[in-house]
Amino acid sequence: MLTVNDYLFYILGAITALSGLGVVLLRNPIHCAFMLVISMVGIAGLFAALNAFFIAAVQLIVYAGAVMVLFVMVLMLFDLRHEVKAFSKGLASFILKLVTTGVMLGLLIAYITHTFSVDPSFKPVPTDPQQSMEVTKEVSQLLFTRYVFGFEVIGALLLIIAIGAVTLSRISGGTHADS
């Protein structure tokens, strides 16, 4: 029988796929940005359907709540009247890119179908609220014991990125030239 997770996958999967297409095909970049926000919220819902509740919440906080706000703010600061054409010109190169991407997608789908024809179904897991807290605790155990080196390196990386972004915004010759 179809469970709630199945219905969630079909609805959210359709929304995410259509929004992904919208990111690529719409002309106005701000429309693309909002389509990407919808796509990311859809992916957060798909994470929740896969019982990864903490990662779904982190996706909402980090991606949909911070990274995309940054994208939308930067897009609103640009003057878009200079941009006339949205897509690279040339119908032949467009068709070539479309065909290439389509062929690669077909190869991936064939590979997935061929490899996982055995039994692709998920084993059921209990879904009471306490259980999702257990999953979070196990993920944090892994993060702090097996992957603690990567965790600390990520912290150092974020520090470097923060300093780098501030430095990039203070390059002379821009609007902060006199300050």
Partner: protein
């Protein structure tokens, strides 16, 4: 029909199909679009597709390493988006042009 039931009930295959589709859509976007910011957004779409496949595999194998990997990918992607946007803003302030085809022909 029983064969339709196995096709409709959602398994690992379905998540991987969706992940592959989103990845290819993102790749097509990078090849076709001209605006720098939209190209960065297509990169983010590809990274999200990869995150989805990691979590799907993690659920299939009952293994939580996929969650940790997604955590790292998300952090690095956010950092890279920040630096990419800072670069795009700097380039825009200098050249007043966001069309990447313009930058293919710069000399010197």
């Amino acid at each position: 029909m029983p064969i339709l039931d196995t096709a409709i009930k959602v398994g690992l295959n379905h998540y991987l199909y969706l992940s592959a589709f989103l990845f290819m859509v993102g790749m097509f976007g990078i090849l076709v679009r001209r605006n720098v910011i939209v190209i960065l957004m297509c990169i983010e779409l590809m990274l999200n597709a990869v995150n989805l496949s990691f979590i799907a595999f993690s659920r299939y194998n009952e293994n939580l390493n996929g969650h940790v990997m997604v955590f790292f990918v998300m952090t690095v992607a956010a950092a890279e988006a920040a630096v990419g946007l800072a670069l795009a803003v700097t380039i825009f302030k200098k050249f007043r042009e966001v069309n990447i085809r313009f930058f293919e022909h710069l000399k010197g």
